[in-house]
Subunit: 450 residues, 2 copies
């Protein structure tokens, strides 16, 4: 477990703020990483916050601001002078700035637009057009480009000059006069090459890029596969319009995983962290699916009511209902979870359902037989031989079918263009509950009543 650096230094920073010695404070925080300063800032009182932020150097102000969460950014903007706000908005990375404008209420946004230069204003408007979840919505427009006719030495000169305003200068894109992406070269290759060589000869012509409306998860998969530092984003005319860097995608991967995990337990994605979510938000994100599942359970109580006579005749049959429905639910949840994750990471596609089916038929028979034997033992132990037999055989069939339900449901949803993660553990369990009760009580009725 990490004790974060910011927690360790918080008391010292606080003491320095109250000592009223601006120079000492400035000196003390000069070498801190902006991410740590941001963590300290949010723990301070509003007045302390302004003193600490004021003690930061100009660049550090911008970088620290960029590391704040969106609501903290908004809050801080409200406390700063117009000139400071203008300075920060002007210097921010284009992608972080666009995120902020996306988050701000319409009214605040309109108040801030006049503080931006025309070029930045247009850029924000352009970036805001991209739908959430696309690479366009997370890309930055501060990429470094060179021309194919430049020499390696000239290209390095360009990069030195542009370095302070570029997201990265380590991956450099080569564009023609129409800004079409024609090549890519690393700063490393430029440095290693003889300085007279032309960029056009050194560059790789096979540039791997993504269109601006591609899914951000696809970008994360590509960067992981190709070990890129950045991925170029192009419009439909193959003109370079932005880059997505690997550190942004690390955040995307973590966020998407959190969403998938939450969906797996039928929690609608919180979007903000658990800690920031209040009880009201948590309730709203959780209650809908729970209520839907209660209504689906009308079916289970209906089935049990239908088989009332069977249950009354052999009351011990009811003892094994949680055992059988539970095992069906657990088995279905397992296979559904494996499918959903393999679909999310791009490992399988719905076309491969044939191979998957053959594998899962085998797994289902093995699991069904094992759990069937155990259930037979439980049935004999808690009741008698005939009930044990009914419980054991039902278990084999329930587990086998539940496994297939868990396998097919995500594939069908995916095929239908619906997020397969809708096949959450609770939904699969409820469906297999229905199936399980029908099999168990149907079979028991055959054995004991007919």
């Amino acid at each position: 477990v990490t004790t974060s650096l910011s927690a360790l230094i918080l008391p010292d920073v606080r003491e320095l703020i109250h000592r009223n010695d601006p120079d000492l404070l400035k000196q003390a925080i000069a070498e801190l990483h902006p991410a740590d300063v941001a963590e300290v800032l949010v723990c301070l009182d509003p007045q302390e916050e302004l003193i600490l932020f004021g003690a930061l150097a100009g660049d550090a102000k911008v970088e620290t601001f960029e590391h704040l969460e969106l609501d903290d950014q908004q809050h801080l903007l409200e406390c700063l002078s117009r000139s400071e706000v203008a300075h920060i908005l002007d210097r921010m990375s284009s992608d972080v700035r666009a995120d902020l404008f996306q988050y701000l209420p319409e009214q605040v946004r309109e108040e801030l637009f006049p503080l931006l230069a025309q070029a930045e204003r247009n850029e924000v408007r352009r970036l805001l057009q991209h739908e959430e979840g696309t690479v366009g919505s997370i890309m930055s427009t501060e990429y470094a480009t060179v021309g194919p006719q430049m020499s390696a030495a000239e290209a390095i000169q360009v990069l030195r000059r542009e370095a302070p305003n570029r997201e990265t200068i380590y991956t450099v894109y080569v564009v023609d006069e129409a800004r079409r992406l024609v090549g890519v070269i690393s700063l490393r290759a430029l440095m290693v090459s003889s300085s007279k060589n032309q960029v056009g000869q050194l560059m790789n012509h096979e540039v791997i890029s993504l269109p601006v409306d591609a899914d951000q998860e696809e970008a994360a998969q590509m960067v992981a596969k190709y070990d890129f530092l950045a991925l170029p984003i192009v419009d439909k005319n193959h003109r370079l319009v932005g880059i997505v860097t690997s550190d942004d995608l690390l955040d995307v991967t973590t966020e998407e995983a959190t969403e998938d995990i939450q969906k797996g337990a039928s929690v609608m994605p919180l979007k903000l962290g658990y800690k920031r979510a209040g009880a009201g938000l948590l309730y709203r994100r959780r209650v809908l699916w729970l209520a839907v599942l209660v209504l689906l359970n009308l079916v289970t109580s209906k089935i049990l009511a239908e088989f009332q006579i069977t249950l009354q005749r052999v009351i011990s049959l009811s003892f094994f209902i949680p055992l059988l429905t539970g095992s069906g639910g657990n088995t279905g949840a397992q296979s559904a979870t494996l499918m959903i994750r393999a679909l999310a990471t791009g490992e399988i596609t719905s076309k491969e359902w044939g191979i998957i089916l053959i594998k899962e038929l085998g797994v289902g028979i093995l699991l069904g037989t094992t759990l069937g034997v155990l259930a037979w033992g439980v049935g004999v132990f808690q009741s008698d031989a005939s009930v044990g037999l009914v419980v054991g055989i039902s278990m084999v069939v329930i587990v086998f079918l539940a496994n297939l339900v868990g396998m097919f449901l995500p594939l069908l949803l995916y095929k239908a263009g619906v997020d397969p993660a809708v096949a959450s553990n609770p939904l699969v369990s409820t469906i297999t509950d229905v199936l399980g009760l029908l099999i168990y009580l149907g079979f028991a009725t055959l054995v004991f009543l007919i």
Copy 2:
């Protein structure tokens, strides 16, 4: 959905291989990314594979080999000549090489060691000592260092010279004579600075590093927080021993998320992808928890047997068992999942249980009341007013308590040093089933029998 590049080019590559024109083949594959060549390789017959691999340039051979999965690497090594194997092993990145040796059977490993130079052999042995899951097990030893007395121009010269053999030259570590880590500087800062400035003045003294036995997830969290390209790894004397790069951590993040998702549905981590896992492996990774949960369900059947008289008196009580246990399980799974994820991302720690409890008490009351009203309606509709009242009130209590069980179980496991992910959805559901039956049947007995 991405149609991968390798699938598109496979037929063409195959045709080229069979045309028996080595130069044409070489030319055609020269600009392909090694990751794509690797994907094509594994789709070919063994003979085609060797022809394609043979047509790669020396460096491309090594890079393509590095992009293969471990079992494919082993398979390919067996088909290559000793000199080719020696060439590849010599040029591989230290972290990928160590992973391969870790994977190979003892006997194969011993056969390969003589092909390595003494220095590489020692390095492999050293890297193999680090436990799986630590940063030491994924770090690379090909980092770039400079001395604090060098000028910026001298440092850039060193980097140009060393570039071909370094994992990255964009983040440069400054070490003293004892190889202790004293600073960090980016190539960007070196390039932007005046060439005469000393590294010692330009560098950042506050280097953020991790000890060699730190958890790899911690490294991923730090890189995401600080937007690093690489993170330095130090031994207990603060000597630099390796680096972990952000692209390696992107893989770690995805793998860890997959494991967490699988654990959430009580599947033991597969370690290899779903597609590569056979039915036998899938069975073994799934059956243990399912069997344990069947045995835990001995308790539910025991409880139902104890309340036999109540169930016989009012048979309609049994209609609502799946509804109540299901809702308890779903609620518990939700809160457990939220806790486990927040603990995994480092967002909360077990110390904060007080704040979390207060929040979850509120959520539990809201959820319990909502589902209680719904359950009351279901009960009245399917049975009568008195059963409806028992079902409704039981639901309120079950949901409220299940929510707390889901919240506390991961926190307690975490506190006890056990992986909180053990509190999987199925385990939590089984525990809340027991709780739910006791509450429901206990309350019903009070109302209808006493």
